[in-house]
Amino acid sequence: MKQHDLKQENKSLLTVPMGLWALLFVGVALLYILALSFLNRGEGFSAQGPATLDNFAKLASPLYFKALLISLRLAFTTALLCLLIGYPFAYHMARAKPRTRTWLMLLVIIPFWTNALIRIYGWKILFSAGGPINQTLLSMGWIARPLKLLYTDFAVQVGMVYAMIPFMVLPVYSSIERMDWSMVEASRDLGASPFKAFLTVTVPMTLPGIMAGLVLTFIPSIGLFFLSDILGGSNTMLWGNLVNNELLKSRDLPFAASLSVVLLLLTGLVILLYRRVGGKTEEMVF
């Protein structure tokens, strides 16, 4: 008995490094950002007291409100497009033969092994005036002049969906894969057409995966600044870009911190909402 207890204790000791890591690089770092957001800009790249709410007062301007709305809208359409494209893909992956399934899974995972920045530069080449897309369209005679694809909202949206889609496919796949198909058969047996069965049984039963996918694609989409930098030029100002600009261009540390705090609060709100709506299941991701 005593020995067993000791073993348990030893096991929990193993979590100490992880705990320390999280405390230092997540907990302390976040507290640092929170503290910074209440300070004034100091000499050079620093911050100084006394504590103030000036930064947050500055945020109340319509300019920032607009940037926030644009960011949220883009994140929302990204999550929605990921669902519309990712769900059918995940569905077929879950229903495919094991061999095909492995290949499809690789298609989703391989991009993970390549640097995200490099992949986005790939899109930049694809979208450019002399890039493959325009070249093809020109040679087919479908367009007279190259289309402006790069540095548009469209390019940013495509890049976002591309970057985020694995985070939709994987949770949705796992909930479709573990679904009991006799439920769908039962619904067909009781008179439902294939589409009706999908709407009334498959979708509700895979809702935990859908919710998880929406949250996992929505949250990072608010802050993905480098994507709109590369594909949107300076045309698209997202919340993530604001943080980036204040930090690296204006070098206003406290104000950048207050922008980050807003982002953090937003993220917390979305997770709270998710727990309310998609809660009560063991498939929760948070």
Binding site: R188, D189, G191, P204
Partner: protein, 365 residues
């Protein structure tokens, strides 16, 4: 057979998966209002047969007819057939009421009428106060009743039940057997019922189709199957049977002398038997009697008692024949006479209770 009384018919039904044959040409007529059971060991093809009737799988060859209409190509939602699934397949995200109402909703029945019908159905399956619960909040027996209610509310011409009592404990199973049978009479729906439990098949069925390796071995009433098995498989799958294999040595009208390794046993058979044919004599263990001597006019063998066990109200006694074969007799312990192991006794039986079947090489004995 009465053509007008046939509800559902299978003709030459085959199903192969890759190179494996699951069904090897099934022909079956199911009559209106009957309780037909597909009985067989697991893997015999009974679930595949049911799924083809439901439309959840399509056959490799053959047809399914419902009231004379070929429905082989119809999708499941277009068939007047409903299924009670083995694991019940209740929708976990819907309450009991909504589960039961589902089929009517798909038929676009007016809401008010659905409510009335669901209420009546909940009463029929004795779950009046459980309508608002989720399936996960019910016991196994209750879930089972919801599954039946959900399928029966559509008043199908044919209700398919895939081992619906398989997950329940013995006591509840026996109780549900009675309830199911009662419900079937009340609803007047034809049942095709799957089980691997011979006792369940015996208790509930009007007819039993005994299956093995994707074929019907015998289609008969429970009594017919028990009293007149036509193969060693049928004789041994249902009940406890002593098999004595031998050769027909002398045949005269319906009397046959069976030679089992030097011993000659007089038997009766209405089938035509050729001398020298390899046969098995099946004697049910409860129809095998023993004592110091046999009453006149009975078939008898001399054998040595090797073991005698009390088994809850009955006694199982094992004997060794001079040929080296053993036989088991099973009797109520009421007023029994006890014999010590090693005693030589007479085994006897009534000739008309012993059945001769072709010897299939003893592979199922």
């Amino acid at each position: 057979m009465a053509q007008d009384n046939t509800l559902m018919a299978l003709r030459g039904l085959r199903k192969s998966y890759d190179t494996q044959d699951a069904l090897n040409g099934l022909d079956l007529d199911v009559y209106k209002g009957e309780f037909l059971t597909l009985l067989g060991p697991s893997g015999c093809g009974k679930t595949t047969t049911l799924r083809i009737i439901a439309g959840l799988e399509s056959p490799s060859a053959g047809e399914v007819y419902l009231e004379g209409q070929n429905i082989t190509q119809l999708p499941p939602e277009k068939r007047a057939v409903n299924t009670v699934f083995q694991n019940y397949a209740l929708f976990p995200h819907m309450t009991v009421e909504k589960n039961i109402a589902y089929g009517l909703q798909m038929r676009k029945v007016p809401k008010a009428q659905i409510a009335v019908q669901v209420k009546a159905m909940l009463e029929l399956v004795q779950l009046k106060d459980y309508g608002k619960r989720l399936p996960s909040q019910l016991s196994g027996g209750q879930r089972q009743r919801v599954a039946i209610a959900r399928a029966a509310i559509l008043e199908p011409k044919l209700l398919l039940l895939d081992e619906p009592l398989g997950a329940l404990d013995l006591k509840l199973r026996r109780q549900m057997q009675v309830e199911l049978k009662k419900m079937q009479k009340q609803l007047g729906i034809t049942f095709i019922y799957i089980t691997h439990d011979q006792e369940e098949a015996m208790n509930m069925s009007d007819r039993i189709a005994l299956m093995r390796d994707g074929r019907f071995i015998q289609l008969d009433t429970p009594q017919g199957l028990y009293e007149h098995p036509k193969s060693t498989f049928a004789a041994t799958f249902i009940g406890e049977t002593n098999l004595l294999s031998g050769k027909a040595s002398a045949v005269k009208d319906d009397e046959v002398l069976l030679d089992i390794g030097g011993l000659s046993i007089p038997c009766m058979s209405s089938d035509w038997i050729a001398p020298g044919e390899k046969l098995c004599l099946c004697i049910r263990s409860e129809r095998l009697h023993y004592g110091p001597s046999a009453p006149g006019g009975k078939s008898m063998l001399r054998a040595t008692l090797t073991d005698s066990r009390y088994a809850g109200g009955e006694r199982r006694t094992t004997f060794l024949l001079p040929t080296g074969q053993s036989m088991v007799a099973r009797h109520t312990t009421e007023g029994e006479e006890l014999y010590a192991p090693g005693t030589e006794l007479c085994l006897w039986w009534n000739q008309d209770t012993a059945v001769l079947v072709p010897d299939e090489g003893g592979q199922f004995a």
